[in-house]
Symmetry: C3
Subunit: 366 residues, 3 copies
Amino acid sequence: MTTDSSVLSTMPTAKRVALLNRDDRLFHVILAQQVQRETIDHLCKLAEMIRTVAETRQGVHFLRTLLSHKRAMLYFIQPSTRTFLSFASACQILGMPYDEVRNPSVSSEIKGETEDDTIRVLSQYFDLIIMRHPVEGFAETMAHELDALHLSIPIVNGGSGKDQHPTQALLDIYTLLRSFAEDSGPKGIPSFAHDRMAGKTIAFVGDLKRGRTVRSLVYLLGRYPGVRLRFVSPPELGLEHDIISYMKRNEMEYETASDLGEIIGDCDAVYMTRLQDEYDIKGESKSIDYDRFRLSADMAPQFKPNLAILHPLPRRNELDRALDTDPRARYWDQVKNGMWMRAAIIAYIFNADAAILDHFQSHYTY
Amino acid sequence: MTTDSSVLSTMPTAKRVALLNRDDRLFHVILAQQVQRETIDHLCKLAEMIRTVAETRQGVHFLRTLLSHKRAMLYFIQPSTRTFLSFASACQILGMPYDEVRNPSVSSEIKGETEDDTIRVLSQYFDLIIMRHPVEGFAETMAHELDALHLSIPIVNGGSGKDQHPTQALLDIYTLLRSFAEDSGPKGIPSFAHDRMAGKTIAFVGDLKRGRTVRSLVYLLGRYPGVRLRFVSPPELGLEHDIISYMKRNEMEYETASDLGEIIGDCDAVYMTRLQDEYDIKGESKSIDYDRFRLSADMAPQFKPNLAILHPLPRRNELDRALDTDPRARYWDQVKNGMWMRAAIIAYIFNADAAILDHFQSHYTY
Amino acid sequence: MTTDSSVLSTMPTAKRVALLNRDDRLFHVILAQQVQRETIDHLCKLAEMIRTVAETRQGVHFLRTLLSHKRAMLYFIQPSTRTFLSFASACQILGMPYDEVRNPSVSSEIKGETEDDTIRVLSQYFDLIIMRHPVEGFAETMAHELDALHLSIPIVNGGSGKDQHPTQALLDIYTLLRSFAEDSGPKGIPSFAHDRMAGKTIAFVGDLKRGRTVRSLVYLLGRYPGVRLRFVSPPELGLEHDIISYMKRNEMEYETASDLGEIIGDCDAVYMTRLQDEYDIKGESKSIDYDRFRLSADMAPQFKPNLAILHPLPRRNELDRALDTDPRARYWDQVKNGMWMRAAIIAYIFNADAAILDHFQSHYTY
């Protein structure tokens, strides 16, 4: 059995989704396409409850009992601080011990082991594998291999090559919903039951071709009728055809633009991204004038009063540091939201969501 | 005081064993020769109990209280994923916090500290050191040094150069006993009180000269009268003389063979090993035709119906991947058994075995 | 906002201290100058109580509940084993989950993120950052940046370039007080309420220019009237002017000497240090005859019977290994004292000191 993602590329998405879910719930969390609207709503509500419960010491202790009987492996082969520590924090919040494989130079790989065998071994030690990997489809292929050998444990995709980053997309949705809820209407938990996306204009700016967070997020936004998307990128770094096809099939309203300044005044949210030049094959990014895809504090007079500025981080120059103290900057919140959302996802995978809902309802007015 | 294993090489084994034990129990776990038959039986029973108890959430929580008052250091200077995470998981199962030293580039060694001083410092922070080291005798020498400075804490050998790997040998015995118990007779806990080894034929295949797991396992099999050993290896990579002398002194029944195909049909277990070419001095392994020491799925028609196929992993080509789905493949179980056995060993070191037996007897029919 | 320590260098110390404290308590722990005498006394007493409580299993469990609702980040960019694991152990003792950033090659830095952004992200995940960094003033600058962005969490300085190492200085004071208490008078907890420093002679030997532990320790000794300091170093590696000015302003009694042999007989404590050649710019240390700044076992006949020999470790040749078994060697104790003192500091930061005092008074005669 080898790591062969060619099988995946010819398999219909519905089939892939069916293989990753169990009993209508997410088992492996690999593709944004697996996540139905009601699951998004549920996870956002759960994340908000966890955050609220964690405000008291007693609540923190409650959360730490939820998964203290499970253990997780963080298999992060691509460099990462932010996502790694976000998942690690989520595990700590849920009381779940974890360990990591990050630096192949201290591991058995130098003895010539295949990565397939490594993943099988990990499946014997841990109850969950959270995986970041440079190879598209690797996490999904491993999920299928473990299933075939009856060694199944859930695998969560923490970023797969240029392809997908579904937990980032979920935390982005959560951040957008929290931002839009501040406009008007019910606050807190109840607001996640309302559709705050309809009629909102969201711009995506930068390297849209190789930004896996944008790809996953567009899939999820396809679950929100009435949302309006704007894409601003260098011509070489536009959205891939599969995403465009997806938007067309789902009758999503979208436009492309070449100048951020022309559209920023219409936006309710702007999602900035950095140049993903680690995927360059021969330095092709160097000739791109990325300054045109920069959000500058000079543009602030054009911003809507409630504009939400997002960035998955790390940033370089495309997001002006002068905006850091602007209340419309939501990227630090976004970081924190990621921790709560990932705690929600992991709790959900192990069916601990019911206990969270019970605890919340018996301690808070809902 | 320097790290000088020459003292060890001239000391009689009985003396070495006496220095490592305390009150007839293992204190430091360094040499397979320390482990008497009754201790093997006890540890196997303990491992089986821990595994059984861990099946319920309540049981997991019980186990996590056992060593929550102790803390461990995993000092792994040789590259390792499998053994490291096996011990790490064992610590997590017993609720024992741990930390690690693995990558000398992030440690104080670059400031010119000797490793002796590092180990002494670690003895001040932690209650247990689990140590994998490329230098034969290093763990044992350190045990003596800490004793001399009245800084004693238990040291567990997680693999010492080409020399020994006693916890791997214990998990291998545990795996063999579980496999053989499936043949007939009592199952589960009681089966570990019976001698399932007598009359069994076990073949060891590959690099027997530098495979520390084989060396330690032969020492332990010396505790089982009536077991029959077969050794199949390239002439350059045969067993070392000390092991052969040990087998003769203990009147063990063994034979060497040059062709795996000729003997495989008689085997109840086959223990495959990879070429340990990290110990090559000048690439001498390259001229060896290791394909003759490969277990191929083509040989399956010759296998006994209950053959147990073991491999300490990582594997390369010597173990055919087509055997992975054969029910006689026991190497994934072996991985899991290692985690339970290491939990048993650590619990035993800290005298937590009595609590496990009590818990088991009050919750399960025995 | 950039990392600019030039602002700090022109700011009066009193102002810097005021910015780091809150309500007359340490909030960020960055500079030794922040620590008043009564805080030193309090922390030493707390360290001694934690050590005592930790002797029983019940006590260990009590300690592990103290900060189980908080989580810590160990951001250690300079190589370190000892200090890292001392803080890690302190976190484990207090039941506080932690994770680490140590090796920039596995982190987001290679994607071009500034360290400022990294620290901001960490402030979103964790309740405390313990930081070791090669750049002087980095920890303090970050403390101010987080304060400015309303992302404040406490930052503890675990060593900042050649500048300061306040937690080491606190553990050194604690070690000195414990050693001097053995002379006469009350033992244990009560002894920390007495001034054991007055009239004692303490020699500092070696690279005093670049040894941050010495710098921080002199600041703290400024809180003890009547202590007598001796400084023995190569002329090129003498104390910096700021420390000399500090001693003069505080009317501390000190002398410099060029020969350790001439003064060792008068000393109650000797604090040895290694050559800090990692800070060499072009190998200037190579021409220094450091053998003259070595404590040799040959000098032992001159030692006072209760001399306390300290060394922050790692050592090289400047501290004779033949002294390791001399009861006056306090450097292994010093290591252990560090763990207890850091637990005390962290407990104090989160106001868990009251709970420790209560527990101690209800379980021990005081």
